[in-house]
């Protein structure tokens, strides 16, 4: 089944005429994603590789039956782009942009909730259901279709994990990059619930990092509701306190949000924690093998 996106996804690219937008549109089309429209204010009427470009999201949605949007828009304008998509009634919005002011996110989250739009990101690589649809910047060719769900706050670390899985012929049902910012639209817990209900998914991999409480919330949910095996890794054991480690949300603040605390919470919840990032694939393999033996 996979979650959130599949072969029925009809994608709009906001910022399609920009360098990033155009490049990743081509990659998406090559992968098999149904990109049905693009949008750049002022470029309505143009075409990118035969894909019609519109001035507004509303018009694109009306004319092309868009049910998802991906945003490649510079940070000063990205919150506005998300709002426009939500206002046009797009149910899934994936925002790749890194650098959106935190208070912009505070302002738009309630509107997204009210309109019922699911936001993935910002500052994320996107979401892929291998073999079905790819929304974002991840390299399609390292993924393979299978039964492991992946939820990650990271970008290239996610690719590393997916690579380790694919090398062991362990495929993925859906991989979601939830993003590295302090405020994101979709959390570990949202995806865990969906994976738990997904018939195609038999195990879930969580990739966390320092900062915030998303991992701790995931631990509570896993303990209470998740029956499928969960394997996890938390990046940033060696991160010094008080420093922003690249991602705006990767910061140990006032002593809170350390990797050690997150790892302890996960272990206590029954999540199999990998101490080394190089062992994640092997650990998932072991867990799946044990499951088959039962």
């Amino acid at each position: 089944m996979s979650i959130i996106i599949d072969e029925n996804t009809r994608l709009l690219v906001q910022g399609i005429t920009g360098k990033e937008g155009a490049f990743h549109t081509r990659q998406a089309v090559e992968y098999g994603t149904k990109v049905v429209a693009g949008m750049t204010p002022g470029k309505g009427g143009a075409q990118v590789d035969g894909i019609p470009v519109y001035n507004t999201v509303a018009e694109a949605a009306r004319r092309e039956g868009v049910n998802a949007s991906v945003i490649f828009v510079p940070p000063p304008f990205a919150a506005d782009a998300i709002m426009e998509a939500a206002d046009a009634g797009i149910p899934l919005i994936v925002c790749i942009s890194e650098g959106i002011p935190t208070l912009d996110m505070v302002r738009i989250i309630p509107f997204l909730k009210a309109r019922g739009s699911r936001l993935i990101g910002p500052n994320c690589p996107g979401i892929i259901s291998p073999g079905k649809s790819k929304i974002g910047i991840m390299p399609g060719r390292i993924h393979r279709r299978g039964s492991v769900g992946v939820i990650s706050r990271s970008g290239t670390l996610t690719y590393e994990v997916v690579f380790q899985l694919s090398q062991r012929e362990i495929g993925q049902s859906t991989c979601i990059g939830i993003g590295g910012d302090p405020i994101v639209g979709t959390h570990f817990i949202d995806c865990l619930k969906l994976f738990e209900a997904d018939l195609e998914t038999e195990a879930v991999v969580l990739i966390g990092e320092i900062g915030g409480t998303a991992e701790e919330q995931a631990a509570s949910l896993v303990r209470e509701e998740i029956k499928k095996p969960v394997i996890g890794f938390v990046a940033g054991r060696t991160a010094p306190p008080g420093r922003r480690m690249g991602h705006a949300g990767a910061i140990i603040s006032g002593g809170k949000g350390t990797a050690a605390e997150k790892i302890a919470a996960w272990e206590e919840a029954g999540i199999t924690v990998c101490q080394s990032p190089a062992e994640i694939g092997a650990t998932v393999e072991q867990v799946l093998r044990k499951r088959k033996r039962r």
Binding site: T102, I183, A239
Partner: protein, 385 residues
Amino acid sequence: MKIHEYQAKQILFAFGVPIPEGGVAETAAEAREISARLGRPVVIKAQIHAGGRGKGGGVKLAQTPEEAERTASSILGMQLVTHQTSPQGVKVRRVLVEEAMEIKKELYLGVTIDRGAALAVIMASESGGMEIEQVAAASPERILKAHVDPGSGIWPFHAREIAFSLGLPPEASLQASQLICSLYRAFWAKDCSLAEINPLVWTGDGRLLALDAKMNLDDNALFRHPEARELRDTQEEDPLETEASRYQINYIKLDGTIGCMVNGAGLAMATMDLIKLCGGEPANFLDVGGGASAEQVENAFRILLSDRNVRAVLINIFGGIMRCDVVAQGMIEAASKLKVEVPIVVRLEGTNVEKGQELLRGSGLNFTVASEMKDAAEKAVKLAQ
């Protein structure tokens, strides 16, 4: 972005938050002048970004202008060491000279972001003058919290609800509720990640004011705050980190011997973690970003290698879109241009990986090619010994 206490106070004052009278001094003579102008005992406060200045000896009382001059002289230029600085401490370049006051009550007041709720939250506590994390750990019930809906914003009643729970006399509570609104407005207007008054004091002569102030500005919002960019004090930053920021390279200097260059923050942290697991110590965090162009790689190399502690370099590039032969070519150019002498372990993954590895091996430079992350970390640790 961090700013100094005196800068935070200036901002808060502009939003209507009462602050002590005083001024900033960069010399002992200036400190004496300010003290003379105030005509009463003063507190001389070292201005550095780190906290814990009092315990470190950076905050002292002075009764007369002459004493103010002597005290300022001893603090200015000192290497102030606190629990929030490195063991070497930070050089004090200016002091804040403020009227000393009789403190009847110390409170905590702050505005920050509740990430989980995706809302700004006001926090207040009667336990002022202490580290709020300690209060949160020991007695969380002593911290009052009020989330503010971004749509309707802050209303005076929000502030009154908090203010009247702080154990202040009624006239002080009314002052406090105005102050809370002012703090919140400043937080919002300046795109802060944190705006804190600790302690907020009720004085012997019936004044409520911000004895200390701390404001952290959201780096992501600086593009829309040109006035805030001018508040940046690069002397409080590690020079290599300042240099890296010029190229949009995320670099954080650490203490180890293995320099790291990685594309992606999560992968960079994971690489540092792996180095430690293999028995080594990372010299830095460095996210070279999505591009990893030849120019970026060169800039990253230069910054990495400016750290004299670096005995080996580990490069871990997971090229999603980038072609590994292009990345390798960039590395070879950079390494030969910079005449890199330390051994470099490179782990590449992505399109054309074999081609990239071949180029590195055939370059005649000190590149060791690794196949996976663990292999790369182990090799780097060995070479650094």
